[in-house]
């Protein structure tokens, strides 16, 4: 009996997989990918998606030397920046793929504000590459910086979560979804540096904290500017029992 049942189940799953393929094929036909660069509009050559080679070349990876703590580009090796000097960050290290300007800034804007969701693939891939270059311990969970449900509804998606999923898909590290935002906050980008920390203070909470007790976590966000958001999230995660928190963002402001 038992065997029969599981066979049926696997058959069912197989047919579901077939169905998924058909649905995907249908959706791809219904929402065709435009063979033009999202930024400059140049025709894409075969096998290249979203961003043309020329625009890709203009992406600026953050180049060392970096602040050992927050990842800001500096002139000298093995040091910390003025911001981090004497400051106690909750996370261990923060790193980013690129500098938040030029092409990267534009595609992050397209991604977040113009809802060009498929860009998560491209940005997530770049972040995965950055992750793999780090000399970091292996992670138990990826954690995306959450949006308030209200804002997530407005935008239709959580940009950090999509990035976390892409990285998860490439690295096999599962995504922890227990970090929540309980209070709607102002857009950090609209605030001056000193106000930012106050803005996010107490805005987060952790559900299912037992899952992350003693674990090593990688916090994922789109942009790191002053580190207030990353700091606050790390603090909450540590309070919930996490052992260590690292931070990976797409861009460094």
């Amino acid at each position: 009996m038992q065997g029969g049942k599981s066979k049926n189940l696997s058959k069912y799953l197989d047919s579901m997989m077939g169905l998924k393929k058909i649905t995907d094929l249908f959706l791809d036909a219904l929402f065709p990918e435009r063979p033009f660069c999202v930024l400059c509009g140049a025709r894409l050559s075969k096998g290249v998606h979203l961003l043309c080679g020329e625009c890709r070349d203009k992406l600026e990876p953050v180049s060392p030397p970096l602040c050992m703590k927050c990842g800001r580009p500096l002139d000298r090796e093995n040091t910390v920046c003025t911001d981090c000097d004497g400051k106690n960050h909750y996370f261990i290290e923060a790193r980013a793929f690129g500098v938040y300007r030029g092409v990267l800034k534009e595609i992050i804007h397209l991604y977040k504000y113009r809802r060009e969701r498929r860009l998560s693939e491209l940005i997530g891939l770049k972040m995965t590459e950055t992750l793999q270059r780090q000399n970091w311990p292996s992670f138990d969970y990826l954690v995306a910086v959450p949006l308030h449900p209200e804002r997530e509804r407005e935008r239709g998606f959580n940009q950090s979560l999509l990035l976390a999923r892409v990285i998860s898909g490439r690295t096999g590290i599962p995504v922890f979804r227990g970090l929540l935002r309980t209070r709607p906050t102002e857009h950090q980008s609209l605030l001056e540096k000193p106000q930012r920390e106050a803005n996010v203070a107490g805005a987060f909470t952790v559900k299912d904290g037992s899952k992350i007790r003693g674990k090593t976590l990688l916090l994922i966000d789109d942009v790191y500017t002053t580190g207030s958001t990353a700091g606050e999230c790390s603090k909450i995660l540590l309070e919930a029992g996490a052992a260590r928190v690292y931070v990976l963002t797409a861009a460094r402001g």
């Binding site: 959706l27 791809d28 036909a29 219904l30 929402f31 065709p32 990918e33 435009r34 063979p35 809802r115 060009e116 969701r117 498929r118 509804r153 239709g156 998606f157």
Partner: protein, 770 residues
């Protein structure tokens, strides 16, 4: 080709059109199999070619499948008095005298037994005072004469039979006896939608005057059934008929309203999407699932689904998707005017809006965008408007700026009032205010559509001109680099195509032409002289007992004249005032620029009175002619042979105007309804010999005596007569006589329109049906 559905749609539609005209199934089957096989061996571009051929062949085969599936067998029983049992599948179309339904037939009474006869017919039932109307899902027994719909076979004419075939209707019945039998289980959602629509419409009717209520139904639901003819014509001439069609704006409002409310209640995006979609489906059912509504609904759904799952839709691809689904639902859709107009307009806006907006950069934003929408749609609509309406509206370029905002506000008001109809104290004020807007809209439309030069008549474009037209648009709007041609060449193409299009619109075919139009039972002869002179002799007409809205003049003759590029008539001849000769002429002299009306003997008939009324209103001179008079139009000389100046016959037919026209030695004799008595009289006093004889009185056995025929001694005889007419015209006696005299006979009921074209010493005879 990165838009898969546009690709599929284009080839599928092309396949359907090919399948309609080429009925060689094995050829398409072969294409299907061959392209399927070759697809796997080809690569890149060729792969796409084979895929295209595959879809093309599939379209042709699918169309043939649809044709057979829809046809059923009911049409095989046409041509007799029949009793059928069927289910009503549409809400009634009601006018003062009758209610018309689409009926899916189930059984037909044959030798006392009911046998299966599936199919769809259109049934009209006369309205008696106490009679309840049937509705969707009612089953009834109808008895009446079952007939195959007839079309008038004239160039540029509207094909009624094909129009019905698009809806799967193969026969019509006028049912004087009807017995209600019961109800079948119908789709409750459809039933609910139709009931709700009835409720809303009734609410409009209670609160507003019939005209305003019907216009509001048009604006909100796209239903034009109740709108009076003259109002529809004003909107059509004013170029604002589109506001009476349900489309993108309507479904957009429905979706946004539902989604907005649910969003406010903080429901999940998925719930909002599903509810909005359900509302759009419900609305589409209410709006009768017409092609424009479905197109708009499907395109909206694609956008919204994309928003839900975070993907971007491409308007062109979505248009192709909507088109493909509509063709799958019914392949005949591609031949329907509303499908073509809706898709052409949308395509125009998608493709040309942006370049046009750039073009009008210097105009203030509001006007610029509206103007760009208007012109982008009009540009692609043009060949279709020329084909279906034979005119384009110049007033529309101004009127749209007034009417579109008014209609938009009325649409909102109509929706709101419709939904709130069960709370009268809220809904009534709203609908009253809306009524004011509609009143203004109707007033300004009527006013402007009557201005001189409000419309410009265009003949339908031939295949070459249509190609040239689209090439012109492409060359004009597509960026030169995209076409891969040099700028100079591009300009040459633009110039050349422009010339071809302009030429086909303004160029009047040279040569002398006499055309006997198919007006069913009746006479209508159109003559065009070498230098563009135009004469119309009679204009058909419906029998005087007919109470419907069909008018031969408006629905058959005018479209023909417009299609030929005729913009004025020099002479309109009323041979006499019987309805089957003069009835259709009334709307012609009303509509057209007529220089003179020629009559014989005035009589006291209703039609004569109306003719005088119109003529005096439009200051058209009415000339009474009699034997001995002559007039010329261009090179054609008309001798009046009848009536005689002094003596009148008792039978008005014998007083018909008889004209003998001579052009370059070629003689035509037009005899009206002249009978034996009149023939004798004419023969005694005039030379009647002619090359072409219009056989008098539709070939009746009270005309065309052997002596008369002998004296005329024609080579050709034309009989203008309706198929299966109740008079038994033409008589076998006359037909035999003509045959015995070795005269070549042409009949409008068999050959359709018959035309003699004379160029130089050449006479060519063309018939609409071969």
């Amino acid at each position: 080709m990165y838009r898969p559905f546009l690709f599929i749609f284009i080839f599928f539609a092309a396949g359907i059109i090919a399948g309609e005209y080429i009925k060689i199934l094995w050829l398409f089957a072969l294409m299907l199999i061959a392209s399927f096989g070759l697809y796997f061996f080809a690569r890149d571009f060729r792969k796409m070619v084979f895929l295209g051929i595959f879809i093309f062949a599939a379209g042709a085969l699918y169309h043939s499948f649809c044709s057979t599936r829809m046809e059923g067998t009911i049409a095989n029983y046409a041509g007799d008095y029949r009793t059928v049992i069927g289910v009503v599948v549409s809400p009634p179309e009601v006018d003062e005298t009758k209610a018309t339904y689409e009926v899916k037939t189930l059984y037909i009474l044959q030798n006392g037994k009911y046998i299966k006869a599936p199919g769809k017919i259109r049934v009209s039932v006369p309205r008696k005072n106490s009679m309840e109307l049937l509705n969707y899902g009612d089953v009834a027994e109808f008895s009446g004469y079952l007939r195959i719909p007839t079309s008038f076979q004239n160039p540029g004419g509207f094909d009624y039979k094909a129009y019905l075939a698009q809806k799967g209707i193969t026969a019509t019945m006028f049912s004087r006896e009807m017995k209600y039998l019961g109800k079948v289980n119908v789709n409750p959602l459809v039933k609910f939608a139709l009931d709700f629509r009835e409720r809303i419409q009734n609410f409009y009717r209670c609160a507003l005057s019939p005209k305003l209520a019907s216009l509001l139904s048009g604006i909100v639901l796209g239903l034009k059934g109740d709108i009076p003819e003259d109002v529809l014509k004003a909107f059509s001439d004013g170029g604002v008929l589109h506001v009476l069609t349900a489309s993108g704006l309507n479904v957009g409002i429905v979706y946004t309203a539902v989604e907005g409310v649910l969003k406010f209640l903080k429901l999940s995006p998925r719930t909002c999407f599903l509810s909005g979609s359900a509302a759009v489906l419900f609305y589409s059912l209410m709006a009768g699932m017409s092609p424009p509504v479905l197109r708009a609904a499907l395109m909206l759904e694609v956008v919204m689904l994309g928003r839900l799952i975070g993907r971007k839709s491409d308007p062109l691809n979505s248009l192709g998707f909507a088109g493909f689904l509509l063709l799958l639902a019914n392949s005949f859709n591609i031949f329907s005017a509303s499908f073509q107009l809706s898709f052409a307009a949308t395509l125009g806006i998608i493709l040309l809006f942006k370049p046009l907006r750039q073009f009008f950069d210097s105009i203030p934003a509001f006007f610029r965008d509206s103007l760009a929408v208007l012109i982008s749609a009009q540009l692609l609509l043009f060949p279709f408007l020329a084909y279906y309406f034979h005119k384009i509206s110049l007033a529309g370029f101004l009127l749209n700026f007034i009417v579109v905002p008014l209609a938009g506000a009325a649409l909102l008001g109509g929706f709101l009032a419709g939904i709130l109809n069960f709370i009268p104290f809220l809904a009534v004020p709203i609908v009253k205010i809306t009524g004011v807007l509609i009143f203004l809209m109707d007033w300004v439309t009527t006013l402007m559509s009557k201005l001189p030069y409000a419309t410009f008549s265009v003949p339908s474009l031939g295949p070459l001109a249509v190609l040239a037209y689209f090439a012109l648009i492409t060359a004009f709007f597509a960026p030169v680099e995209a076409l891969g041609i040099k700028r100079k060449l591009n300009l040459t193409i633009i110039g050349l195509c422009f010339l071809i299009v302009a030429w086909s619109i303004f160029w009047v075919k040279p040569g002398f032409e006499v055309t006997f139009l198919d007006v069913g039972q009746g006479d209508c002869i159109f003559i065009k002289t070498e230098d563009g002179g135009t004469i119309l002799i009679d204009g058909g007409g419906m029998p005087s007992y007919y109470k419907g809205s069909f008018d031969i003049g408006k629905n058959v003759i005018l479209p023909y004249l417009y299609d030929r590029g005729v913009r004025k008539l020099d002479v309109v001849v009323f041979t006499h005032f019987d309805s089957d000769h003069a009835g259709g002429l009334l709307s012609i002299i009303e509509e057209m620029d007529v220089k003179a009306v020629v009559i014989g003997h005035p009589d006291g008939s209703e039609i004569y009175r109306k003719m005088e009324e119109v003529a005096s209103k439009k200051k058209i001179p009415v000339l009474a002619v009699s034997r001995g008079d002559t007039f010329r139009v261009g090179e054609a000389v008309f001798h009046v042979l009848n009536p005689s100046r002094h003596q009148l016959f008792e039978d008005d037919n014998d007083n018909s105007v008889v004209l003998k026209m001579t052009y370059r030695g070629l003689r035509f004799l037009f005899t009206g309804d002249l009978g034996f008595e009149g023939e004798k009289d004419v023969m005694a006093e005039c030379d009647v010999e002619a090359d072409v004889l219009k056989v008098a009185h539709h070939g009746s056995d009270t005309s065309t005596s052997p002596e008369f025929l002998n004296r005329v001694n024609p080579d050709f005889a034309v009989i203008s007569v309706g198929k299966n007419n109740s008079f038994g015209h033409p008589s076998t006696k006359v037909l035999e006589l003509l045959e015995k005299s070795k005269i070549r006979v042409y009949r409008t009921d068999i050959h359709g329109a018959i035309s003699f074209k004379i160029r130089g010493n050449n006479v060519r005879l063309n018939t609409q049906k071969k």
